[in-house]
Amino acid sequence: MKYFEDIRVGDRYALGSHIFTAGDIKSFASRFDPQPFHVDETAAERSHFGGLIASGWHTATIWMRLMVAYRRREMEAARARGEPVAEIGPALGFRDLKWPKPVYVGDTVDYASEVVETRRSASRPDLGLLSILSTGVNQDGDTVISFVSTTFVERRPQK
């Protein structure tokens, strides 16, 4: 990742996409969100969703996985150029998490994040706070998830 000072509001990260399979959906939901419409096709068809849908927490954790992979690619590219790499994390939390549409079996969700706020940490002068708006959009162009999360990011070491 870039240092805090080099991050600008409006910077955008294209994270890539994920196809949600039935196995995938049931594997996550059986562990963390075993509501019938997440784990049982027949029950899901009878529910108001009309078919098996992913847990909203599953849709969120896939964002995290793609973000970690994105950061790793950026880090490796920076190292290859001989540039220093800023530490990022941990996150403090998130707000305004919305699941406006369900994610059904076979949906492809494309994720992106955009910087919406940067500010210095009051408690840690060596760190900044980065807030990003993250979204997942399905193959029909419908947003299926959005949220704003805040994380620590390292400031450029003072000379």
């Binding site: 562990r31 963390f32 969100d33 075993p34 509501q35 419409f37 108001h48 969703f49 847990s55 909203g56 927490w57 969120a60 954790t61 896939i62 995290m64 996985r65 970690v68 530490e87 994390g89 941990p90 996150a91 403090l92 939390g93 998130f94 707000r95 305004d96 998490l97 919305k98 699941w99 406006p100 369900p102 949220f147 620590f152």
Partner: protein, 152 residues
Amino acid sequence: MPKHYWEDFKPGDVAVYGPRLVTREEIVAFAAEFDPQPMHLDEAAASATLLGGLAASGWHVSSLVMRMMADGFILDSSSMGGPGVEEMRWVAPLRPGTRIRLRATVMESRPSKSRPEMGLTKLRYEMLDDADTLIATMVATAMFGRRGMAAS
């Protein structure tokens, strides 16, 4: 018939769910699958980070809140899912071997304007350890079917 309908959640109601033991194995397994950052995978690497030692991914904490809600009341309710989460804060690291509880407080209750068979309930959740240390907080609105109404 489910035990809990929208009408059963009254503002001010408090319930505590759990306890649930969080193991090192599940912290590392979740991180390996969804959040493979060193602070969630490896003690030595984690001790060099702000977390000061191995701790669960924040999304694992959130997923555990969901599971404790599910086991606590959702699975025996007329749940119709949730439109989102107002706020979640990961207040303190969730360490391996911690026994967690979930305290849920009903904040608001209102019928749906567009769907007469449904009501909305806003709850605040607090994840606590055995010493009552606050690990995470969450405020979320859930949709429930109303008593005597067919949820279809």
